[in-house]
């Protein structure tokens, strides 16, 4: 047993911690605001504080970026501007990690703007008191008392801070803490939706249970790696405690590269540990087969939170995934690395396939975007498979022949992943921001919750051209259409796969993208080229009136149903055959009445036939934003266009991020 004889206070590089300290510190201040600021002023105080903290963190990241680049390009004799390895790797500011911090901050700012919007209805997306049991008198009391849950802002800051730490640490225990710091606020936030309270609480419970399970796998993996490290590293150095991955894998690599062999059975221990950690990360990424929580949680959570969660969590988790895979692979035998790489390839293929195929049949906007995020997880993992490729003197070589001298993780992976995360992130926050503004309306004109059923989105393009244009832009970017950010992003990750020697994976990725285009375009067709339910009903009414009672009972069937055309394409499969029958001739009437939209109508109706065929589809109404969400959507749209038209601005920065910190 080593005895601790002396304690030396560690040197802490406070500057390197600045972005984290600003975000998490303001989160704590936010809790105190909840305690001391009167209820009236809380919301505004929180919003200003949160945005200021995130903006401050972004500035800090920018300053650190400059210092880090100076350090990396410094001549040997020069004094380093920054020690990127705080406390020996507890915080490890590689340019990649710092870039991830920047992306997470940007996405958090956009996300908070969407969260802060109360829209023209005067209500935000959150329950007055999330603790009230759904359907009880207490809920009504809370609503009438005008209670508001402003705790969401500190919770968002804690989540964002956890994500930033998650992406920039080498110590697996710190990474585990960061995982919890980012997850716990998100579990709570998922349960706070104003409407459909039960669905929201169900989402939170599912996310919590599955997330806890994934965390357990993660920490189990960390324990195995700790055991491996104890046998390999700490045999000679009893003072080293903790699970710094780079330290462990470097020691293992030293043994391997000198022709030695690891103690019996430890290689398997190490591999098992790394695989378990990676499983924990893939859960957060939402990759198949660890994706099952995604659709339910994304649907149940308040939409602004879904946007933030889908964009920022993925950024943190993917960056952590690349770092863990690369650092762990560093200390493995080449054939083991190849097997690990193959496992990642299989996950990439599965994720792309499930995301695109299952996404294509969704009829709910939030669910569709959830499956789209699974598909994007697949594209991202495609970009990650090159993790084991290292570069020596400009030429890519594989781990199979370990190069001498300085090695850096494949620049294509870093560049591709960073750009993809930003492009996907702004499109996702923007798309969910649009969803928050498209609402249902009750029969007596009261604005309700979000109209997530795609049928309600028909003809939205005529009623809200700008909003529809923005949404279409985000969808096109997610589909990877040229001139949008998504195209450059996809090009980046696929070329990273090609550079790693997996050209067939890139081909599969392109094929999956083509399938994905179909389901994104389907939504655009519904919004732009399909007449709204009201128009369809009106047209049908008119024609039927002219034809008199040609079909018995048709008048009754139509007047009550705004979506008379719904059953037209496949009347026999409808549950209420009698009620739907009169709709068939009405659809013919639609074609004569609106020839330009008729064909599209028929196909689209057929596809989403299964969605609540007995209920009448009413058109969604668009509520006005009170500013923040509109700003966020506009910023996201602008970013999507700028990243698509002038990608070099960001690609240059991403190029700088490929410099590896030894």
């Amino acid at each position: 047993m080593p005895e601790i004889t002396a304690f030396e206070a560690p040197e802490i590089e406070w500057v390197a911690l600045a972005p984290l300290l600003i975000v998490l510190g303001t989160g704590i201040v936010g809790v105190l605001v909840e305690a001391f600021v009167p209820a009236r002023a809380r919301r505004l105080t929180q919003i200003v504080l949160t945005l200021a903290a995130l903006a401050g963190a972004l500035v800090a990241v920018g300053v650190l970026w400059g210092m880090l680049q100076d350090t990396l390009t410094a001549q040997p004799g020069q004094e380093a501007a920054l020690n990127p390895r705080v406390l020996g790797g507890t915080l490890f500011l590689t340019p990649f990690a710092l870039g991830a911090q920047g992306i997470i901050t940007i996405l958090a700012i956009l996300g908070v703007l969407v969260v802060a919007d109360r829209t023209s209805t005067g209500e935000d997306a959150f329950a007055p008191t999330a603790a009230a049991v759904p359907g009880t008198h207490y809920e009504d009391l809370a609503r009438e008392a005008g209670l508001r849950q402003t705790e969401i802002y500190p919770l968002l800051l804690f989540a964002a801070g956890g994500m930033m730490l998650f992406a920039s640490t080498d110590d697996l225990i710190v990474m585990f803490i960061a995982l919890e710091v980012l997850s716990l606020p998100l579990y709570v936030l998922c349960a706070t939706a104003r409407r459909r309270r039960l669905l929201s609480q169900e989402a939170a419970a599912k996310y919590f249970l599955l997330g806890a399970f994934a965390s357990a796998l993660f920490i189990f993996g960390v324990a195995l790696i700790y055991g491996f490290g104890g046998m390999v590293v700490r045999g000679g150095n009893p003072d080293a405690i903790g699970v710094r991955l780079l330290e462990v894998s470097s020691a293992s690599r030293n043994i391997l590269s000198q022709g030695g062999s690891l103690p019996d059975g430890t290689a398997a221990l190490y591999l098992a540990g790394v695989v378990l950690v990676v499983v924990g990360l893939l859960f957060k990424v939402g990759a198949v087969p660890f994706h099952a929580w995604t659709p339910d949680v994304y649907t149940g959570a308040p939409t602004p939170i879904t946007g933030f969660m889908a964009a920022a969590t993925k950024a943190a988790a993917v960056v952590a995934l690349v770092q863990v895979l690369w650092r762990a692979g560093f200390g493995m035998a080449p054939d083991v690395v190849e097997q690990l790489q193959l496992a990642v390839v299989v996950i990439a293929v599965l994720t792309m396939a499930v995301g695109t195929v299952v996404g294509a049949v969704q009829t709910d906007v939030k669910r569709l975007l959830a499956y789209s995020s699974i598909a994007h997880a697949g594209f991202l993992v495609t970009g990650v498979v090159g993790f084991a490729t290292v570069v020596d003197g400009g030429a890519a070589v594989s781990f199979v022949t370990p190069p001498e001298g300085q090695t850096i993780v494949a620049p294509d992976v870093i560049r591709g992943v960073l750009f993809y995360l930003l492009a996907y992130g702004v499109a996702t926050v923007g798309a969910f921001g649009v969803v928050t503004l498209v609402r249902e309306r009750s029969a007596d004109g009261v604005i309700l919750g979000e109209a997530t059923d795609l049928a309600a989105w028909r003809g939205l393009g005529r009623r809200a051209p700008w909003l529809t244009a923005a949404f279409a832009l985000f969808l096109l970017s997610m589909a990877g259409i040229p001139l949008t950010a998504g195209f450059v992003a996809k090009f980046g990750v696929f070329s990273a796969a090609v550079a790693a020697g997996y050209w067939w994976l890139a081909v599969l990725g392109v094929l999956a993208s083509v399938v994905a285009v179909a389901f994104y375009v389907r939504v655009i067709v519904i919004m732009v080229m399909t007449p709204s339910n009201e128009e369809t009903a009106a047209a049908a009414q008119g024609v039927v009136a002219v034809r008199d009672a040609g079909v018995p009972g048709s008048g009754a069937g139509l007047s009550g149903s705004g979506a008379s055309g719904r059953g037209s394409a496949d009347a026999s499969a409808a549950p209420a055959g009698g009620a739907v029958e009169p709709a068939a001739p009405a659809s013919g009437a639609v074609r004569t009445a609106a020839p330009e939209g008729g064909l599209a109508t028929a196909t689209v109706f057929g596809e989403e036939h299964e969605a609540k065929a007995e209920a009448a589809a009413t058109d969604a109404v668009v509520v006005g934003s009170r500013g923040p969400a509109a700003v966020a959507v506009a910023l996201c749209a602008a970013a999507t266009l700028v990243l698509g038209l002038f990608p070099s601005l960001v690609l240059d920065l991403a190029e700088q991020a490929t410099r590896y910190v030894p």
Binding site: I28, V31, A35
Partner: protein, 119 residues
């Protein structure tokens, strides 16, 4: 001797004590059941709310539980610090007070938001 042998012996003693206690009380203990004895036990709270009375459950229970956690965690870290107080010196003192300040924040939040107003 295998270094794991004491652990095995300890596990054996534990199993004997646990099973023996349950078994002995089942054999030699008097059996006089009443309603309270047959209730499910969940740390002093009704595991399921009563159907009558609107399914109410005492929210104070959770507040007490959370307040307990605040102080419990505080003490968990205070003990080792107290043991190594001199070794950790100024750094330890500053770190500990930062920790105490941070853990007071949720306490203050609970207090200000009426978590202790039980009347």
């Amino acid at each position: 001797m295998n270094p794991y042998l004491p652990i095995l012996i300890l596990m054996g003693i534990g199993a004997v004590l646990a099973l023996g206690g349950v078994g002995a009380s089942a054999i030699i203990g008097p059996k006089r059941y009443n309603r309270a004895k047959l209730d499910a036990y969940e740390c002093g709270i009704e595991p399921t709310p009563h159907a009558l009375g609107g399914g109410r459950l005492p929210i104070k229970y959770y507040l007490v539980a959370m307040t307990f956690i605040v102080f419990d965690i505080e003490v968990v870290f205070l003990y080792p610090w107290a043991v190594d107080f001199t070794t950790l010196a100024t750094f330890g003192l500053v770190a500990m007070f930062a920790f105490l300040a941070l853990i007071t924040v949720p306490f203050v939040y609970e207090w200000r938001r009426g978590g202790f107003d039980w009347v």
